[in-house]
């Protein structure tokens, strides 16, 4: 027969101080684990949800990122006329030749300087990215030295308000708007007119990349193969979504360090939980013996104590989750290993993250609780009653 859970809960209430301190210790470990998992979830989201599956990205052959390989602008004229390219609102092919460069901006909080991607695009570039919405001001006008910045750049960097001007290339650029990219990789970019940018950065006659919108998924695949296989073009192409999915490896450093930290802290917390449970078992040795005399089996004592440890860790997990809630959505940045520029992402406490945190805490409770529970269940009834 099982011992009711209310017995465990009452016991935990009886020694409030001990329960609270142990649970807090577990909570701290859970907070660390959530923090790291939420960072990775945010980073994952920034890359995985980026890109439109119908957009085909074209780069120079051998180049792995938009930053690295320019190709001649003549090739772009060929790309425009390929079959399977969708039409824009004016009836022209929906394509954009683009140039991306990296510039250094100072963080608003003064914590250092960071590489930021500046993207020059054709007017169709905006139509190619319908998920990106204007939040303030207006879009840049063609032929003007104007840029729009993403929401997170606006928040995180100096001189990124509407009306400010940013110095790069051959002079200053007016910030005319702020766009909202919904947590995707575009959150780390500044956009302007491609022709202005190529002349400012002495990149006339070349593009860093080109975007083509396919009419449907089948023609997107066909376009991709056609561009990559054409020996005259010396170009490579991929779906925009594939390009970003490859960049999730940028989180590798955070992942490795984060897990080492979380696991070491978890081991420490398991020992602490073990200590608490041994003490709980010692205090109650006479009680346990009485339970055994009444007829509760060893296994039900074992289950009861393991359960108590699990309850303790769940309490810790709950506190940890509540402690982390205020940080949900907080944005931060790290370096994108492909483009060497900053990628901005938010802490995302997804259901998966919360679920893993609870499992993480459960594991600590089980590891910490099993040995003391075993000890409690195995003790000699007579000695315990006498003690």
């Amino acid at each position: 027969m099982a011992i009711p859970i209310s017995y465990n809960i009452r016991n935990m209430k009886l020694r409030k101080g001990l329960t609270i301190m142990t649970a807090l210790g577990i909570a701290l470990t859970v907070t660390t684990a959530i923090f790291i998992m939420a960072l990775l979830a945010g980073l994952q989201r920034a890359f995985v949800t980026s890109g439109n599956p119908l957009n085909v990205l074209v780069l120079r052959k051998g180049s792995t990122s938009e930053l690295t390989g320019p190709f001649p602008a003549e090739n772009f004229q060929v790309l425009k006329t390929l079959p399977g390219v969708a039409k824009d609102s004016h009836g022209d092919p929906l394509v954009s030749g683009e140039v991306t460069v990296v510039i250094v901006l100072a963080r608003r909080d003064g914590s250092g300087e960071v590489n930021v991607t500046v993207r020059g695009m054709m007017q169709d570039g905006l139509e190619l990215r319908p998920a990106v919405k204007l939040a303030q001001g207006r879009w840049f006008a063609p032929g003007q030295r104007e840029i729009v910045v993403s929401n997170s750049i606006h928040k995180r960097f100096q001189h990124a308000d509407v009306g400010d001007s940013v110095e790069f290339g051959k002079g200053s650029w007016q910030v005319v708007g702020v766009f909202d990219a919904g947590g995707t990789a575009y959150e780390s970019e500044m956009w302007g007119d491609v022709n202005q940018m190529t002349s400012d950065f002495d990149r006339q006659g070349v593009y860093s990349s080109a975007y083509l919108r396919a009419t449907d998924a089948v023609s997107a695949e066909a376009l991709k193969n056609r561009v990559s296989d054409d020996q005259r073009l010396k170009l490579d192409s991929m779906l925009e979504t594939e390009y970003y999915a490859k960049q999730t490896s940028s989180g590798a450093v955070i992942r490795t360090i984060g897990w080492i930290v979380a696991v070491i802290m978890a081991i420490g917390s398991s020992f602490a939980a073990m200590n608490t449970m041994y003490a709980a078992a010692a205090y109650r040795s006479r009680e346990i013996a009485t339970l055994r005399v009444i007829g509760f089996s060893r296994s039900s004592i074992l289950t009861s104590f393991v359960l108590e440890a699990v309850l303790l860790s769940l309490l810790g997990a709950g506190v940890g989750i509540v402690l982390m809630l205020p940080f949900n959505g907080m944005t931060t940045g790290t370096q994108n290993q492909t483009t060497f520029s900053e990628v901005v992402f938010g802490l995302q406490m997804t259901p998966g993250v919360v679920g893993s945190a609870i499992i993480f805490a459960l594991a600590m409770g089980l590891i910490g609780g099993f040995a003391p529970a075993w000890h409690a269940a195995r003790q000699n009834i007579l000695n315990a009653l006498r003690g």
């Binding site: 210790g25 701290l28 390989g69 070491i264 802290m265 420490g268 200590n275 608490t276 931060t332």
Partner: protein
């Protein structure tokens, strides 16, 4: 029995509890020591004397923009400048596009490269061999070991930024005080293959003739090119390296918050243990008082016990961290930041002792104030 012996005996009374506490504190302090070591190696440690003499000049906008080659002679002409070499990021891939095959390759000038990096060790004949072979390269000993490269071996590196591949022969293997994991080749090789790179350089590394010149050279270079189409930004080699770290994210805040969580966690563990053991000994405290021990002595006994347990945990943790650091140091690169120095270990011990002290103050104070009669009446 002396008081010290009394404290140690008490600390060892419940062996299981003490060892669990020591392990718990030990693991936390292992983490704390490693974090402090990283902090120290990144932000506090001064580089070698020669490293402090080096400056880096890059394009003001960012590292991805190049500067004209004639900047080198203009910089060299400035007072206080001893040697200048250009460096160019190649960003190629060895064998295939796997992250483990991705490492730094720089194009430079073999004639003067080791005059700037004069603290790097390489046999003189290997430098000469490198200078004589335009398709030659020198490589960091750690990298050479990792890939199993020997002097004289051919290495092919596929270009991703530039439309060319490097077919190099390893002419020398050097040992840098801080492993760089990098390969250096003659930039002329790339200039000949990629016409638009002719007359362009990525960044310049400068060796100053004296520590006093270092502060003067930076502003002088930047002032010289301020109004040119390619303005520059000059900083010390160390600031240049820290700039890369800043790009990884807010590393300082990350380390600090982990340290904070760890310290708080060990405080909880230690306080928990002390609360448990003092509570069990309520009756003993009353007996001690009856025997004539003062409140102060009793306070001291318990606080001392907490400090002993926490310190043992601290020693276990920091020694483990030290061993990890030694192991990590052998692999080189970023892992070298885990190397633990003596001051770091001492700080870790101090933190452990402090945590032990703080955790025991409240329960010990309560115990020392105990009324003798209540204490004697207390049942477990």
């Amino acid at each position: 029995m002396t008081l010290t012996r009394f404290v140690t005996k008490n600390a060892l009374r419940n062996k299981r509890r003490s060892s669990l506490t020591v392990l718990s504190i030990g693991f936390s302090l292992l983490l704390l020591t490693l974090m402090m070591a990283i902090w120290r190696n990144f932000y506090l440690k001064e580089g070698s004397e020669v490293s402090a003499l080096r400056l880096v000049t890059r394009h003001k906008v960012s590292l991805t923009f190049s500067m004209p080659s004639y900047y080198r002679e203009k910089i060299r002409a400035l007072p206080g400048v001893a040697v200048v070499v250009p460096q160019n990021w190649f960003g190629g891939v060895y064998k295939d596009d796997k992250s483990r095959n991705f490492f730094a390759q720089f194009g430079t000038d073999p004639e003067e490269f080791f005059k700037v990096y004069k603290d790097w060790e390489i046999p003189e004949d290997q430098i000469v061999a490198w200078q004589r072979d335009r398709a030659g390269a020198v490589v960091d000993s750690k990298k050479a070991e990792e890939f199993g490269w020997k002097v004289g071996q051919k290495v092919i590196i596929t270009g991703t930024i530039f439309p060319t591949n490097l077919e190099l022969t390893i002419r020398g293997i050097f040992n840098a005080p801080q492993p760089t994991q990098a390969l250096y080749y003659n930039q002329k090789y790339v200039e000949e293959a990629v016409p638009y790179m002719k007359g362009q350089q990525g960044f310049y590394t400068i060796l100053a003739d004296s520590p006093e010149s270092v502060a003067r050279i930076g502003p002088a270079i930047d002032a010289m090119f301020r109004n040119s189409p390619q303005p520059t930004r000059t900083e010390t080699e160390r600031a240049f390296q820290l700039g890369f770290l800043a790009m990884l994210g807010n590393v300082k805040a990350f380390i600090l918050s982990i340290c904070g969580a760890v310290v708080f966690a060990i405080l909880l563990v230690s306080a928990n243990t002390m609360a448990m053991s003092i509570r069990e000994r309520t009756r003993e405290v009353a007996v001690l008082k009856t025997l004539g021990f003062t409140r102060r002595t009793i306070l001291g006994l318990f606080v001392g016990e907490a400090i002993v347990v926490a310190l043992v945990g601290g020693v276990v943790g920091s020694v483990a961290a030290f061993l990890i650091g030694v192991g990590a140091g052998k692999t080189g690169g970023m892992m070298g930041a885990l190397q633990v120095s003596l001051p770091t270990i001492l700080v870790a011990w101090f933190v452990a002792a402090l945590v032990g002290f703080i955790s025991a103050v409240v329960p010990s104070y309560n115990a020392s104030r105990l009324n003798i009669v209540d204490g004697l009446r207390h049942i477990g």
